[in-house]
């Protein structure tokens, strides 16, 4: 260590000279440099079972980038350029991709995908290399709340702990429920939500937890689990799990002729929940950040029109798969562009500082953001920004 320092000491005059030279050269070729694109990285599942989520995020980013570039880009004329890498939903692949984007492509920020484990794997690298990360789907609490200071990880999406607050609040307000039966997938995601729900109930006096039951992806018949919750007096089911096992929960509920309301995390929105569940699919209300159904704000109208134009397969809101990916990414991209403008640079630390103290407000798809982030809050969305939806046929529409 000492050797390196002394070496730096020795070469300090040379360093100064070098810096001055680079600065001069920069001035000389200023206009050319200014036209260099700003690279925006995106590491997500672009193949495999979650490929649709990656594509949805890509669409949101693309529409936002097109809008920003049409207005002249950022930093006085530099266009934004999307550089994507497939993480195949596996953390090591995601980490490799992030390294490549950081060291080779030299991206200004990296957007993430659906998989919390992939995001969690990238967090230490990005914090170390001071490259801001914008999570736009993965809801794992520890992604943004990672203990690093300074923290380069931001998110425009739901957060497990806050979703848990929302689920209980909705259950008591919408259904007048007083005793929640938790039915959770038996994996780290279910566990983290169990903790979150137990924590959330402490601040919500209207509702208690009647019991906690777990299920496996391979469970065929969940009548025993639901019977236990019914015996314990549950008057609402809080469901955390993906579409396939979630469907088994709904089928068991139907077999018990138990008309209990079901309030669910967004796991059931992937896959083919209506096909797997049958006629009771619409009875599960679940959380989302945005829906293109129903009356749209002017921003919503504009984005919908842009999506239809850019992707001819989209004829209406029903053709927008994984809408939250598109909506979150769209808003997040605009916030990042604002931060780059405010930072007047693509330096990671400058962008982070700008994001933590974003001036002015931005009217986005999900809401109007003013001061979306702070040094101690890297999540732009909270429980009041989440909406509740359910299936009508194959469409996900808001519950009013």
């Amino acid at each position: 260590m000492l050797g390196v320092w002394s070496m730096l000491e020795r070469y300090r005059p040379a360093n100064v000279l070098l810096t001055a030279f680079i600065a001069a050269a920069g001035l000389a070729v200023g206009p050319a440099l200014a036209a260099d694109p700003v690279k925006i990285g995106h590491v997500a599942a672009l193949s495999g079972g979650s490929a649709q989520s990656g594509e949805a995020i890509t669409r949101g980013l693309t529409i936002a980038i097109d809008e920003i570039n049409a207005k002249g880009g950022v930093l006085g004329g530099r266009k934004l350029e999307l550089v994507q890498r497939d993480d195949e939903s596996t953390p090591p692949k995601g980490l490799t991709a992030a390294r490549e984007l950081v060291f080779k492509e030299k991206v200004a920020v990296i957007f993430g995908g659906i998989d919390s484990p992939v995001a969690l794997a990238m967090v230490p690298l990005l914090n170390k290399e001071k490259v801001p990360h914008m999570a736009v789907w993965a809801a794992g609490t520890g992604i943004t709340r990672n203990g690093a200071n300074p923290n380069y990880i931001f998110r425009v999406s739901a957060v497990d702990v806050l979703v848990d607050v929302k689920l209980l609040q909705y259950a008591s307000e919408k259904f007048g429920a007083k005793k929640a039966g938790l039915i959770l997938i038996n994996n780290p995601w279910g566990e983290s939500n169990e903790k979150g729900l137990i924590e959330a109930v402490k601040t919500n006096t209207a509702i208690q937890i009647a019991g906690v039951e777990k299920f496996e992806n391979s469970d065929v018949d969940l009548v025993p689990q639901l019977t236990r919750l019914r015996e314990k007096g549950a008057d609402v089911l809080i469901l955390v799990g993906n579409a396939a096992p979630g469907a088994q929960v709904m089928k068991a509920r139907e077999r018990l002729s138990w008309k209990v309301p079901v309030v669910s995390h967004w796991g059931i929105s992937g896959g083919r929940f209506p096909e797997l569940t049958g006629p009771t699919a619409g009875e599960a209300h679940f959380v989302q950040t945005y829906s293109f159904f129903g009356k749209q704000s002017p921003v919503g109208e504009r984005v919908l029109a842009a999506l239809k134009k850019k992707y001819p397969a989209i004829k209406g809101p029903g053709d927008i798969f994984a809408p939250i990916g598109t909506a979150n990414a769209y808003d997040a991209m605009h916030l990042v562009a604002m931060a780059i403008e405010q930072a007047k640079s693509t330096d990671g630390d400058a962008i982070r500082t700008a994001l933590e103290d974003l001036k002015g407000s931005y009217q986005g798809l999900i809401k109007t953001y003013s001061k979306p982030f702070a040094a101690d809050n890297h999540d732009a969305l909270g429980p009041s920004d989440y909406i509740m939806v359910h299936y009508e046929g194959d469409n996900v529409v808001p519950v009013y």
Binding site: S218, V220, V223, L256
Partner: protein, 291 residues
């Protein structure tokens, strides 16, 4: 109420395990080998039936028949590729080879059928409910144990009472003697594998409407069914089916009474305990070794 609900769930699932375990029994009784790809064969039955019926629009009966035949053929292939070459050389590597073939077929299905689980369209057997004390029991749930018991009875009768069945059992006792008596040993072993594949396909097609169809749906079933086969005494058709029912009911009872966290721990611990007390299985007879 808890115990009652568990009973209904347990009988349905237990018969499923029993059916699959019968497949282990059949090949073991005839050739002293088992097909560890049994769980994947069950999955294959469900996937083929779904694909032919829903995706290709075949009539249901034709889809079921084709799925059954293809699964039987697949099991014959497993015997040819992964069992016979090893047995002929006196090796036990068929154990690993059948597991490997199971993984291969699961991955092929993953690529062709896709990662998204699919659901069987509702039919008469799943939409007809029989109310039984507060629980709507689907007609299919009642049909599964009936089919399981009938098949066990059929196999038991066939092996113990018919000439051909006795010929099958003769093979396992002494291959050379059986061959001298004019029994085509290779063909007999092949037939037992075909039958085991058929049983797995029946299980897969029956469980599909109650479950979701995916490339991994058979994995845990296969493991549980093997535990059941050992528990029942793998040489006894009735024992295997009864053990399936017991396993299913105990599993559901544990979930109901202790909670789902304990299901796998307690159930498998009980299997180990049962085998410690009765090493040849609950209904099995110890193999007589002539010295």
């Amino acid at each position: 109420m808890l115990a009652y609900a568990a009973l209904i769930t347990g009988v349905g699932l237990g018969s499923m395990y029993g059916l699959l375990a019968l497949g282990f029994h059949v090949t073991y009784a005839v050739s002293n080998t088992v097909n560890f790809a049994q769980g994947s064969t069950m999955m294959l039955g469900a996937v083929l039936c779904f694909t032919l019926w829903v995706t290709f629009g075949w009539p249901l009966a034709a889809a079921i028949a084709a799925a059954l035949l293809l699964c039987a053929a697949w099991s014959v292939a497993v015997e040819r590729i992964a069992v016979r070459p090893f047995v002929q050389r006196g090796s036990n590597s068929w154990l690993m080879a059948t597991v490997a073939l199971g993984i291969v077929i699961e991955n092929i299905v993953l690529f062709t059928f896709g990662k998204d689980p699919r659901g069987m369209p509702a039919g008469f057997l799943t939409t007809t409910y029989v109310p039984m004390g507060g629980i709507k029991v689907q007609a299919l749930q009642l049909l599964i144990p009936v089919i399981g018991l009938l098949l066990a009875a059929g196999i038991h009768f066939f092996l113990q009472r018919t000439r051909y069945g006795k010929a099958l059992l003769a093979v396992v006792q002494n291959r050379d003697a059986a061959r001298l008596m004019g029994i085509d040993v290779e063909r007999v072993v092949m037939a037992s594998f075909a039958l085991s594949g058929l049983l797995a396909a029946v299980a897969g097609i029956l469980v599909a409407p109650l479950f979701t169809i995916s490339s991994t749906m058979g994995t845990l079933f296969g493991i549980k069914a093997f535990a059941v086969a050992i528990l029942g005494g793998i040489g006894n058709a009735w024992g295997v089916v009864l053990a399936g029912l017991i396993y299913g009911i105990v599993e559901a009872l544990i979930t109901s009474l202790l909670g789902s966290t304990y299901t796998q721990i307690v159930t498998f611990a009980l299997v180990i305990l049962a085998l410690a007390v009765r090493p040849s299985g609950l209904f099995g007879r110890a193999e007589v070794k002539k010295v």
